[in-house]
């Protein structure tokens, strides 16, 4: 009886989920580009509040897996459930409204707008009135939230600067800020530290560590020193498939992982 009500009574707004419902389930998800199988047969279950790292060599299909989840490249086979709800065939903006936030491997920001405008838009995307013709006044709560986000990701000092005038590291921080703006239930970070200098790295690692604990997080990261301390579980992908699923303390000893990472990887 309880089961049927939760299934039928679900609305677009975040319905309450009991602890047993996983945050994300991918069931045999596959994605092909023509003849190329970028992702095949990936089944992952992520618990609410879990932090999951995804490792794997270049071309393993990690980013493509993100794209199937957020809807940019919907799966060609399989199912995806977000907090129990089937989102396999939803458009990207619908999935975003259900609580998926993500960053991109190479920043996808609005280069012609300022840092604060980027964050402000990200906040507005999660609110009603998306076609609003009212300019944000000083008391606008969305603008205030954008300012708080700027502080949180430490770009408040350059809030007025246009994206095309700020550094790569700062763009990575704005990326994370925008993904957080909707208060997502599931946050997916795609190599957030990619291309950062040794000096910029700790800033970002700290930013990830300071994320609220109840947030479900999937982190794609090449750098084991960034990935392992920030995860509860680790999934390793290769050639579009999941090859190992383990805990951070055991992953380094796994013979397959050693073969991938120590045999040939940079």
């Amino acid at each position: 009886m309880l089961d049927t009500t939760t299934r039928k009574g679900r609305t677009e707004a975040a319905a309450p989920t009991d602890a047993a419902t996983p945050a994300l389930v991918t069931e045999n998800v596959a994605r092909s580009f023509g003849a190329l199988k970028a992702v095949s047969n990936v089944s992952i279950t992520i618990a609410p509040g879990e932090r999951r790292a995804i490792l794997g060599p270049n071309g393993a299909g990690k980013t493509t897996l993100f794209n199937t989840i957020c809807g940019d490249h919907p799966p060609t086979a399989g199912r995806i459930l977000l907090f129990g709800e089937d989102i396999t065939h939803l458009q990207p903006h619908r999935r975003a409204r259900l609580g998926i936030g993500r960053t991109y491997q190479s920043s996808l920001l609005f280069t012609g707008l300022s840092v604060l405008e980027n964050l402000y838009l990200a906040v507005r995307g999660a609110m009603p009135g998306r076609l609003s013709l009212w300019k944000a006044g000083h008391g606008d709560p969305a603008l205030a939230k954008a300012r708080r986000l700027a502080e949180q990701v430490r770009v408040d000092t350059i809030a007025g600067a246009r994206i095309d005038s700020i550094s790569h590291g700062q763009r990575r921080q704005v990326e994370v800020g925008m993904a957080l703006a909707s208060d997502p239930r599931l946050l997916m970070l795609d190599e957030p530290a990619a291309g950062l200098s040794a000096a910029e790295r700790p800033e970002l690692v700290k930013l990830i560590r300071d994320l609220p604990r109840e947030l479900t997080l999937i982190l794609i990261e090449h750098d084991m020193d960034v990935a392992l301390p920030n995860s509860d579980k680790v999934t390793v992908m290769k050639d579009g498939e999941v090859v190992v699923e383990s805990t951070p303390d055991r992953i380094a000893d796994d013979p397959l992982v050693q073969a991938i990472y120590l045999g040939g990887e940079h």
């Binding site: 990207p92 903006h93 975003a96 013709l133």
Partner: protein, 333 residues
């Protein structure tokens, strides 16, 4: 969030003040034949520049949308020749005409929903040519090749609409309002999303915005702007013909936008003034046939010298004098 920097406001106010005082300085021909005409075609060019500058869409359907407003007001006009069965007051016909253009703009946006760049150009051009051919062949409503004459517009302040000063001030007021509307809208959530779509539609969707809906709304707004221009152009020409909204007219308005510069809405009016000056005076010096050659050469010259039009040329020249101060990079909040 201010619309423009203080120096921009000062400049805008100064230019407006000069334009307002023009009836004291200029002879009638210049007032309506050059400035007024530039303003009304500039409004249609503004609808192109708005879409291009903030949405990244180049639409060739804007002259058609102006034409839809023009034909609507002509068909409903109480003074029209041939007389219409459906005549109403101008005060009702005008808003209906603008509404028709707005809705038609939304339809164009819907038809072109998935296209960008060259494909968008092709599809909007096809719509424009198609509409012009339809108007030419339809007798019942559009009176075919001859079009609709004697659409003189309403009386204002006891004077005919086409009285030079009346026409000029109405055009100036409307152009200024639409220009400021564009500058305002691009700072609202709707306008910011539009610029987001220009920079990165994928990210816009990932933030929860429905890109399709925003695109349609942007085309509707551009249709509204073009429709306002279309009504004024129809009064200016005292009627409308299929030729006035055909391929040549479509290209002319695009040329205005590009000459002026697609980077900022003011470019539409700069381009319109340059175009009108060349159009008026080249035709008296040369014969009519050579006009297209001349405007073509000017177009080529400006675009080669500065891909972002006169506006970009001006900016570059100013930038050579003094480096742009870093704080001016767009701090709208």
């Amino acid at each position: 969030m201010s619309l423009m920097s203080r120096s921009h406001w000062t400049l805008t106010a100064l230019v407006l003040a000069i334009l307002v005082s023009m009836p004291l300085l200029l002879p009638d021909f210049w007032l309506s034949g050059i400035l007024g005409r530039s303003l009304i075609y500039g409004i249609v060019a503004l609808s192109i520049t708005f879409l291009a500058s903030y949405g990244g869409f180049i639409s060739l359907a804007q002259t058609m949308l102006a034409g839809i407003a023009g034909y609507t007001v002509a068909i409903l006009a109480p003074t029209a020749i041939p007389a219409s069965q459906s005549a109403v007051s101008y005060w009702l016909a005008m808003p209906l005409a603008v509404l028709a253009a707005t809705l038609a703009g939304a339809v164009v946006g819907l038809i072109a929903i998935r296209t960008r760049d060259i494909y968008l150009l092709m599809i909007t051009l096809a719509l424009a040519v198609g509409f012009s051919l339809f108007a030419q062949s339809n007798i019942d409503w559009f009176n075919g090749y001859e079009g609709i004459r004697n659409v003189v517009g309403p009386e204002l302040f006891g004077q005919p609409f086409r009285a030079h000063t009346v026409f000029y001030y109405v055009s100036l007021t409307l152009a200024a309002l639409l220009y400021l509307m564009v500058l305002y809208v691009v700072r609202t959530p709707f306008g910011l999303v539009l610029q987001g779509i220009r920079d990165n539609p994928r990210r816009v969707a990932a933030l929860g915005f429905d890109v399709a809906v925003h695109r349609i709304a942007a085309f509707a707004m551009a249709g509204f702007i073009a429709g306002c221009g279309g009504v004024l152009i129809t009064f200016y020409n005292i009627g409308i013909t299929p030729g006035s909204i055909g391929m040549t007219a479509t290209v002319n308005v695009l040329v205005m936008s590009v000459i002026g510069g697609l980077g900022h809405p003011v470019g539409a009016f700069i381009g319109a003034v340059i175009f009108t000056l060349i159009d008026t005076f080249a035709a008296t010096i040369y014969d009519r046939d050579r006009f297209n050659t001349l405007i073509g050469l000017v177009f080529l010259g400006i675009v080669v010298a500065s891909p972002d039009g006169v506006l970009g040329l001006g900016k570059r020249l100013a930038g050579r004098g003094k480096r742009k101060d870093a704080g001016d990079g767009g701090t709208p909040h």
